[in-house]
């Protein structure tokens, strides 16, 4: 299985809209790389560039070492799964699967063999003679997968393949897809706006915003050490709490409105500069009222019981922004309660207020250097 390499990829649409701003990326052999980002961040454009459905403004795309810039989509040895599946409505499932193979003049017995194989893997054998309109959403999704599998391509391209399914089916299809990916081991590029999908499916993920790759890394790495405030706010649900503050003179603490939070270790950045302090809702822990470790007191304004968890919203550090805390479902909190909260200093994230970049701790830097 080959890798996919993007070098200096840039896409400017007619009319001057910059969709992708110079991007370098390498999808390793057999890896599933997820492109994650809000709508309009350029993730779909990137996928379509790889597919050959859009033309590059600058840069190179290599699949298995071969530059594919000028090649037609059909010549790139890729398969794509569309968000709306794009099954040919007037053809049976079998014809849908066979169409690409016929166009590539695959011999008949080989087509039959591949269709039988794909149908077995996806358990759509009984559906082969039906038309797409006679299928349910989940079945259509599997047929769309089948159309990609029978091609036996070098690369799979997924364009939000699960977002047309309802929530329950999506969770199921996600597992199926992950299993399938582990069986086939095909190099894949997976576009999604759903962070759960990206976190669970991907070997590595790319968080994109406004045409720029904000961070590339393993899912847990991106969660634990987001490189920018954007990534920090995008990954994790409920989203990270942000508070404006000033970096202390010793660079070991952040001064917030009315309180100071110790960082436990020294961070980079300029003493006295404006920073953003980020704390994930799951890292704020209730403590005793007279606790030495309390960093603040949350005034409960709104409670959301989710069953396993209890989300509590309220004011923590300042008057303007509300913070969210994730408590166990068994916890008892009501509107008007005050909850003293503590946090493990290792779970604090500090970002430069102007650039949004993470201020690394000295430890992190040493690790990175080593």
């Amino acid at each position: 299985m080959p890798d996919v390499e993007l070098q200096g990829v840039r896409k400017v649409y007619a009319g001057g809209v910059v969709a992708i701003e110079g991007l370098d990326l390498k999808i390793e052999d057999g890896e599933l790389l997820a492109l994650l980002g809000p709508s309009g961040c350029g993730k779909s454009t990137l996928l379509r560039l790889c597919a050959g459905l859009e033309t590059l403004t600058a840069g190179d795309i290599r699949i298995g070492g071969r530059v594919v810039n000028g090649l037609e989509p059909g010549e790139r040895d890729i398969a794509m799964v569309f968000q709306n599946y794009a099954l040919y409505p007037h053809m049976t499932v079998r014809q849908n699967l066979a169409y690409g193979l016929k166009n590539r003049r695959t011999p008949g017995p080989e087509i039959d063999r591949r269709i039988a194989e794909a149908a077995r893997i996806l358990q759509i054998e009984e559906l082969l003679d039906r038309q797409p309109r006679q299928l349910s959403g989940g079945q259509r999704q599997r047929v769309a997968m089948g159309r990609a599998i029978v091609r036996e391509p070098q690369v799979f391209l997924y364009d939000e393949p699960l977002s047309n399914l309802d929530a329950k089916l999506r969770a199921h299809a996600r597992l199926e897809l992950k299993k399938l990916q582990q069986t086939l081991g095909t190099t894949s590029l997976y576009v999604t706006h759903d962070q759960v999908e990206a976190m669970t499916m991907a070997d590595r993920l790319v968080v994109m915003n406004a045409g720029v790759a904000q961070q590339v890394g393993r899912p847990m790495e991106v969660y634990a050490r987001p490189e920018t405030a954007f990534v920090a706010g995008f990954i994790g649900s409920p989203a990270m709490n942000f508070t404006a503050g000033t970096l202390g003179a010793d660079r070991r603490s952040v001064a917030l409105a009315g309180t100071t939070v110790a960082l436990g270790t020294m961070v980079q950045g300029e003493a006295g500069s404006a920073v953003t302090l980020g704390i994930r809702p799951e890292h704020l822990l209730p403590t005793r009222a007279d606790g030495q470790d309390a960093i603040g007191v949350l005034e409960v304004a709104l409670v959301e019981p989710l069953g396993a968890d209890l989300l509590v919203h309220g004011r923590l550090f300042d008057e303007t922004e509300t913070s969210t805390v994730r408590l166990p479902g068994s916890a008892d909190a009501r509107r008007g309660d005050v909850i003293p909260l503590a946090v493990n200093p290792a779970d604090l994230h500090v970002f430069d207020a102007a650039s949004g970049r993470r201020l690394h701790t000295i430890d992190e830097d040493r690790k990175a250097a080593a």
Binding site: N84, A86, L87, N103
Partner: protein, 297 residues
Amino acid sequence: MIERTPILDVLTHVLLVLCIALVLLPVYLAFVAATLPVGAVNSAPMPWLPGDQLFANLATAWQREDLGRQLFNSMVMASGIAFGKISISILSAFAITYFNFPFRKTAFALIFVSLMLPVEVRIVPTYEVTANALTPFIWLIETVTGGMVDIRLRWNLLNTYEGLILPLIASATATFLFRQFFMTIPDELAEAAKIDSATPLRFFFDILLPLSRTNIAALAVIMFIFGWNQYLWPLLVTTEENMNTIVIGLNRMMPSMDAIPEWNVVMAGALIALTPPVLVILFLQRWFLKGLVDSEK
């Protein structure tokens, strides 16, 4: 909007029946006239109930003008026009919708403008070209060479089926309808076909054409009837009797000043003339409605 009020139900049904009666009454009168002997048809008022002369009148009409030959001519012309219009307009709609070429919008605008130029408006130049299909080329060569070259070439389309069909087979309406239909087909379908290594023509024949079949059927009905009803153009372009279409034949049956006004025979001829379009509609009705009402996805 679905309303369930008895009064409205009655009202809409009364309206429907009235409209149907309004449309069918002339047809009924033509039928009655075709069954009467010549005396009865010219009495005033004409009887409202059919007589017993239908087959005799039909036979007379059939023999008086060469209706068999004319039916055949009309059939060839109407089918040719329907087929030609659909082939040309579906291909131009395909080009306009799926390809990005210079002056694409101009091309579409020109097609659209041609809606305003029916046969009647351009009949003189069209006749001239039909009389000698090489006229434009001769004009071009003579203009380019500044009149140095004198060409005498002739390709006469008068009194031919090509002459009847070709000038009428461009259709802005059909092009526009196909374009609108193609625009409702999701782009992903074309993209999926591209990834499936389909060439544009493969995509057209394997995917676009099967998806368009209800629209094609609907247009075929409309265009066939359009072709069948042509009067002015066949009148100009056919001078030999064996090339006449049935509409012209019908006109020639009209009683002249000093002959016996045999309206019963004329109406029998009219019945013959309207049978093929009615059959076409009856057979294609299901498709026709589908194509107009829903877009099968």
